[in-house]
């Protein structure tokens, strides 16, 4: 917290500080006085998140919830006689449905907790380039979500590999053991990691727009979880296809498919692209509002 906490007390008021403040902090850290201050912003955001005890627990929770639900799903699916229309990779990665909610908390708190404590004013006093602050937050959140996602996805696939082989998903039934050597499984794995990171970024963007953590997380989870429910209520219609293609969760999770690709309403990478567009859109709108609104 040193940088963030020191900054407001050791620098002049926000109005006059822009240029000199940046120079001072650059000199103090022995860094080249960067034109954007992105490096300092990154360091500040990293320090803030790193020193919050909640961050570690949330990252651990992403891993635990994802692996736990994925393991339970893999334990529940059996295919005693072969010929099941089950996607083993997707089943093993069912935990993403829960893990994403924790990743969303991570994204929401990255800026939401600053708004609820008033810390955001200190942050913007120290770093008057608000877009830079948001970019730094996005980088740090993405950087934290990715390794957590890697562990979560690897654990889920490992559990799936062990459990599903014992449940009839054997080479004899046309199901080779889950391995990252399989292109489709690798795509599902890498895609799921990116999915978690994108959910965290989407949450960061939405919270920047809404500024209050409770309605922000409600909005994010509504955006995600309401998609499959409304899609199921509209079977076979035009709107069903629209939701499957363009809603963040239904489109984004297309990346997990390794079988039955022809029945997907959107191709795996295009689906993840849709989620990336949602995240980018939320962050851009958030950045715009940061510039025009008072903190």
């Amino acid at each position: 917290m040193r940088r963030a906490a020191d900054a407001p007390s050791s620098t002049p008021p926000p109005v006059t500080q822009t240029a000199p403040a940046r120079k001072t902090s650059g000199e103090r850290n022995g860094l080249r006085a960067g034109s954007s201050g992105l490096h300092e912003a990154l360091q500040a955001e990293w320090t803030k998140l790193r020193t919050l005890p909640g961050t570690f627990w949330l990252l651990a929770a992403v891993v635990v919830t994802t692996v736990a639900v994925g393991t339970a799903a893999a334990a529940a699916v059996t295919c005693p006689h072969g010929g099941c229309s089950v996607d083993p990779a997707r089943t093993s990665l069912t935990g993403i449905y829960l893990g994403q909610a924790v990743a969303a908390i991570l994204g929401v708190l990255a800026i939401g907790s600053e708004y609820s404590t008033g810390m955001i004013r200190a942050t913007f006093t120290a770093m008057p380039r608000r877009t830079t602050v948001l970019a730094a937050k996005a980088a740090v959140i993405g950087g934290l979500a990715l390794p957590a996602g890697v562990v979560a996805v690897a654990g889920s696939l490992l559990a799936g590999r062990v459990l599903l082989t014992g449940h009839g998903f054997t080479p004899a039934h046309g199901y080779p053991a889950l391995t990252l050597g399989d292109g489709a499984v690798l795509r599902a794995a890498v895609g799921s990691v990116l999915y978690l990171a994108l959910i965290a970024l989407l949450s960061l963007g939405v919270t920047t727009i809404i500024r209050d953590p409770a309605p922000a997380i409600g909005t994010v989870l509504g955006l995600l979880y309401l998609d499959p429910i409304i899609a199921a209520a509209l079977p076979g219609g035009h709107w069903h296809n629209v939701i499957e293609r363009y809603a963040p969760m239904t489109a984004g999770l297309a990346i997990q498919a390794t079988t039955g690709l022809s029945s997907l309403r959107i191709s795996p990478w295009a689906g993840l692209g849709v989620l990336a567009a949602w995240a980018a859109g939320a962050l851009l709108l958030g950045a715009l509002l940061l510039r025009v609104r008072d903190a």
Binding site: A76, Y97, P213
Partner: protein, 537 residues
């Protein structure tokens, strides 16, 4: 805590600081005066209504009433299901060999065989030879036997004793009721005797393996049965349905129509029958089979009857094209999320601003503060949910009918249970979220908990992500079980269909499911109360 703040806070609850009513009033004022919360609750209710109307408006059914007529759409395409005595939509089509029977009497018969033909896939049927391309085999609920019905009009009250393709002897009456008799398949070596007696409005069914030792299977009380009824033999056979279960793609695939032929002898009609045996196709031909495929033949002392169709309630799904009101209420999840956010903020906003210390100073009995907040959160959510559900159900039903989607009729009482149940589920979910907020004191974590414990199991259970068996367990043990309140029609064991959560059939009865959610809410409130008392504010 300074004395001045305490005095101020006490004055704020001037209705009497020791009285629970005053506490309730101050919590209500706290809610009412935060504009964002009021807007959130109202927006949740509006989204619920709009969503339901969109769903009702979403599918526009097109059809062709006869091969040469122009294609039509909307209300012209509504299937015309007769209504049974209980008001439910029914299928009532069978081949009936009957005579009028006046006053009390009985029908007795021996069945020596039941055979059938079916189309494994719903392909076209050649008009000149309907049985071409059909495979031999009876359906599990192919049925034949004796029936006494108020009239030959579809949807009439009836009672029947029958043998079935796969479920032994049954007594069924008024479409929804079903009781088991002798098990096992029927054959010439192992025939079944069936008897149905009428005494006033009461019909009693018996079965026997030898014609001398009779066992009573059940009694049907058909109020208002006319003095002259139609009594006789029938045969019918529902469409071939294959229920796939155990894999993620659980569901049913419907094939084509089927026929069942039963051989009867020792036919005896006692009482005062009139006329001679007369064969009729009741309820029109089914599944594209021409009426000529059904019929009866008299040979020697026996009779063989062939029929197609079913005498059973209509089940929602792709096969019947019928849907239920539950799907118009899925928008309640939007209302649920709004309610969870507001309920969590009722407590976490106080922690965030430090107001909680004032509240606790003004009312040191913390359990009462929690109770007052729970009542406000529950009541506000209940009223908003009730208004939304009460508006959306009749409107969406009317809209769906105009668009050609048949919504299964249910009694007013069932409609009321679905509407009030939806509101009650939202209210208890809000209380659960409030308890989570009290325990966690952090809004983001508490809102996520409140949403995830209900919405996520519902998604996992109903959208085919988990196999049917696991999905049913999820909907038994998690708070999402409460959405059983939205199931308006029961699963009928005497109709083959895929009764999965994905199709709107929940594993628990409505009130049992609701009790599961209430259990979680009580547990969470107790834990919240304990922590609230133990921890510093």
């Amino acid at each position: 805590m300074s004395t001045t703040t305490m005095t101020a806070a006490r004055q704020a609850t001037s209705a009497g600081h020791g009285l629970f009513g005053g506490l309730l009033r101050s919590e209500w004022i706290k809610f009412r005066t935060v504009r964002g919360w009021v807007i959130g609750v109202i927006a949740g209710a509006l989204v619920t209504v709009i969503w339901g109307l969109l769903v009702a408006n979403g599918s526009n059914v097109g059809c062709q009433t006869s091969p040469n007529s122009p294609p039509e759409s909307g209300a012209a395409c509504l299937p015309r299901f007769p209504l049974g005595p209980g008001g439910e939509a029914v299928t009532d089509s069978f081949y009936f060999v009957h005579r009028p029977l006046t006053g009390d009497g009985s029908v007795t018969v021996r069945v020596t065989s039941l055979a059938g033909l079916y189309q494994p896939s719903g392909g076209g049927i050649a008009a000149n030879d309907p049985e071409a391309g059909m495979r031999p085999g009876v359906q599990p609920w192919s049925k034949a036997g004796i029936i006494i019905t108020a009239s030959a009009k579809p949807g009439s009250a009836y009672a029947a004793m029958m043998i079935t393709g796969g479920h032994g002897v049954r007594m069924q009456y008024d479409y929804t009721r079903d009781a088991a008799g002798l098990p096992g398949a029927v054959s010439a070596g192992s025939p079944r005797w069936l008897r149905l007696t009428r005494s006033g409005d009461t019909l009693t069914g018996y079965d026997s393996a030898d014609g001398t030792h009779w066992t009573k299977i059940g009694t049907a009380n058909l109020a208002g049965l006319p003095s002259t009824v139609q009594a006789g033999l029938f045969a019918t056979s529902p469409d071939y349905v294959q229920v796939v279960s155990g894999s993620l793609a659980s569901g049913s695939s419907t094939g084509g129509s089927s026929l069942a032929t039963a051989s009867f002898d020792h036919v005896r009609l006692s009482g005062t029958p009139r006329g001679t045996w007369h064969g009729s196709v009741i309820g029109g031909s089914s599944g594209g089979l021409p009426a000529s495929a059904s019929g009866f033949r008299q040979a020697g002392g026996g009779l063989s009857v062939t029929g197609s169709g079913d005498i059973a309630p209509v089940v929602a799904g792709a096969a019947s094209g019928a849907s239920t009101v539950g799907q118009f209420l899925t928008g309640a999840f939007a209302g649920l999320i709004a309610a969870v956010v507001v309920a969590v903020m009722l407590i976490t906003a106080e922690y965030r601003r430090g107001l909680i210390r004032v509240t606790m100073a003004a009312s040191p009995r913390r359990g009462r503060v929690l109770a007052a907040k729970a009542i406000v959160a529950g009541a506000v959510t209940f009223v908003a949910g009730l208004a939304a559900a009460a508006v959306v159900v009749p409107l969406a039903r009317r809209l769906a009918h105009a668009k050609g989607t048949y919504v299964l009729p249910v009694s007013a009482l069932t409609d009321m249970r679905v509407i009030v149940g939806t509101a009650a589920v939202l209210a208890v979910a809000a209380i659960l979220a409030l308890a989570a907020g009290t325990m966690l004191r952090r809004s983001a974590a508490a809102v996520t908990t409140g949403i995830v414990v209900i919405v996520l199991p519902y998604i996992l259970g109903t959208t085919g992500i988990l196999p049917a068996g696991a999905a049913e367990w999820v909907l038994r043990v998690t708070p999402a079980a409460a959405f059983a309140m939205q199931q308006s029609v029961p699963a009928y064991s005497q109709v083959t269909a895929s009764y999965t959560p994905a199709g709107g059939y929940f594993p628990l009865a409505p009130w049992a499911g609701f009790a599961v959610l209430c259990g979680y809410a009580v547990l969470a409130l107790a834990l919240a109360w304990y922590l609230l008392r133990r921890r510093d504010a």
